[in-house]
């Protein structure tokens, strides 16, 4: 058996990264070691140029209103916290979906205890948000709707454009958690009607960990919870409201931003459509194979839309099965609740969760075969 480790946990973070990403980070740390936007010497200016270029690249990539509205954060969780805690306060109404990650649910539950009303739309058998229920909730009033673009458990993509329309008709704004889609599914903020976009840099966008983005739609006021140095309007005792500085206090993660920009350029050179198609094909092959193995249940849309496939093996505890896949077969998948207990409640796999295989650009059909062969052996041994 080929003992080389097969990494199928790209929904947690993509690995490996394209070589250009490693090179960009290395180059940045070695040659652009100055603090961007803080000083007037040449190295600081070059560093600031790198940040500005990355903002422009991201603005175009997501069809954002302006590069100044692209905020660099720590990760997608940070972006969601900045957005939700800066938009919602006592008396406001929030609506969310049934397939949310704890990075959405935990901030919402905390806000709920501070007087924000929080409603959760139901799901359908097809793993999508029940639009009738969602519409009904919006009719009762909505300030902010926050939904994941694709579930990190099932991979199912939600009807964002349709949801945005309903939210806008009722006077609310839509915050999109693009943790599982940024970089692997095309996102056009204008076309979809997304008001605020939160995304990690280290997943589909192929950057390193430690950098995320928040894109804020025009005319939206998000109160910052983090204040400090901006290198801009320093004479003022208060945090400036102007974007991006208003939401970006402190020295940014320059090597992370450099790596993220290189990741996006790589995606553009390959084409996001071909990345999407490739990951969906791998998922389709895996789902087909898994459905033919006795005692295996698959939790995935009938037609897979990205690289995420959840499954369980009857009579195997998922944590054990995950450990055996690593131990005996050299395959890294994620086992458990994937930080999304609500989703598992919705699909009936709470509290044990599922095994989740998630593909990235560098996976191939050989990896699918390795996993299928292992699951067949596991299933036969019990």
């Amino acid at each position: 058996m080929d003992r080389k480790f097969v990494y199928l946990d790209n929904a947690a973070t993509t690995w490996p990264k394209p070589d250009v990403v490693y090179e960009a980070i290395n180059e940045c740390v070695r040659r652009l070691g100055a603090n961007p936007g803080r000083s007037s010497h040449r190295m600081s200016i070059q560093a600031e140029q790198l940040v500005q270029e990355a903002r422009l690249l991201l603005a175009k990539f997501f069809n954002a209103p302006s590069p100044d509205h692209v905020i660099f954060t720590l990760n997608c969780t940070d972006s969601l916290n900045i957005a939700l805690k800066g938009l919602l306060r006592a008396g406001k109404k929030a609506i969310t979906g049934p397939y949310e990650h704890n990075s959405v649910m935990r901030p919402l539950r905390r806000l709920q205890s501070a007087g924000v009303s929080v409603s959760v739309a139901r799901g359908t058998e097809g793993l999508r948000v029940d639009m009738d229920h969602f519409r009904e909730l919006c009719l009762q009033g909505v300030d902010v709707a926050v939904v994941s673009h694709a579930s990190n458990v099932t991979g199912c993509i939600q009807p964002i454009a349709e949801m945005a329309e309903v939210v806008h008709q009722n006077g609310g704004i839509l915050v999109l958690d693009a943790a599982q889609t940024a970089g692997t599914t095309e996102i056009d903020m204008m076309k979809l009607g997304v008001d605020v976009l939160a995304a990690p840099g280290h997943k589909g966008l192929l950057g390193p960990m430690g950098v995320g983005i928040l894109i804020v739609g025009p005319g939206l006021e998000i109160d910052p919870f983090r204040e400090g140095g901006t290198g801009f309007r320093s004479e003022d005792d208060f945090q400036p409201r102007d974007l991006p500085w208003g939401l970006e206090a402190g020295t940014p993660n320059l090597p992370g931003i450099a790596g993220l920009a290189a990741g996006i350029r790589f995606i553009q050179s390959v084409g996001i459509d071909s990345i999407s198609a490739r990951e969906a094909e791998l998922s389709r092959a895996l789902c087909e194979g898994l459905r033919n193995i006795h005692g295996v249940r698959v939790f995935c849309p009938v037609e897979p839309q990205n690289g995420i496939v959840s499954f369980t093996i009857d009579s195997y505890d998922v944590a054990l099965a995950g450990a055996i896949l690593d131990q005996a077969f050299g395959i890294g998948v994620r086992a458990g609740l994937h930080c999304a207990p609500a989703t598992h409640r919705a699909i009936g796999t709470f509290p044990n969760g599922t095994l989740r295989a998630s593909f990235g650009y560098f996976n191939h059909f050989g990896h699918v075969e390795r996993l299928l062969s292992a699951v067949r052996q596991l299933s036969a041994s019990n």
């Binding site: 944590a319 450990a323 131990q327 005996a328 458990g336 609740l337 709470f350 509290p351 969760g353 041994s381």
Partner: protein, 341 residues
Amino acid sequence: MAHEESRYSRQVLVSWIGEKGQEAIMNGTAVIIGLGALGSTIANILARSGVGTLRLVDRDFVDWTNLQRQGLYDEADARNSLPKAVAAKEHLVRINSEINYEVIVDDVNPGNVERVVAGASVVLDGLDNFYTRVLINEACVKLGIPWIHGACISTYGTLATILPGDTACYNCLFPDASSMTSPYTCDTVGVLGPIAFIIASWEASEALKILAGRKDLVSRKLMWLDLWKNEITSILTERDRECPVCAAREFPMLQQHDRVMTSSICGRNAVQVLPDVSRGFDFESTLHVLSRAFPVEFNQYLLRIHCGEHEIVLFRDGRAIVFGTSDPKVAKSLYTRYIGG
């Protein structure tokens, strides 16, 4: 204060202690790491002897199988699953309320071991694994604190007193200890109650010499004793002039991450225990030892044992998942007890 006179009078009468020695004992601090069979007896003796401060350190909780030999605990402690350090203090306060107690319910690891032993006049070993002894040795040698190594299993036990810079240190005696594990633990091959009481008493006696200011009287040998065979052996020990710990003062283990890492399993009442796999793991002998002690389930991928309300699933490379707890300390403790350490 008339009380105090009579409380320690028999100890003061011992010629090499005297009033001066007793005063030194009462100003001293003893740190007892591990409060199982050895540690609870050591604590009992040292509390009665009037040691000024006893620092009681253990990550574990009292369970039913402890009562046979861990002399400080009773059935109520086991029923309530009290942390050993907390239960020990509660009993000790009733034995001697005139001394200070410090309780630490925690795992001893490279990140905290120096704080755990800081300020001690002497440190005593009540442990059940090699790795923590290696950490204690490095911390004590680094800070110049005398410590007493004691261990027992089955019907035999061993003892060595370590005076940093003077006697051989634990690394001089057991240079491979940091990479050793053994499936032979009190929970897999058993332990006779009396051997634990004897080794603990011996350790406490060595500690009293140090506390009373008579380091000159401590053992400079590695002692070994088997109660079933009635054999006592001693080996004269020598410092290793190239010892990385007490000669070169490099303290390698204090700078590495904890050798046994844990990771919680998202959403499950289970903890994965990840020992350092680079040192290799003898699955076959572990299986052999465990299967003699417990009913084990075994297939090509894993070995499963039930221990009370917990279940341990062990994989071939030594990694394990402990079900029935989400507390990493509990998982590590069960791993050390049943799989070895």
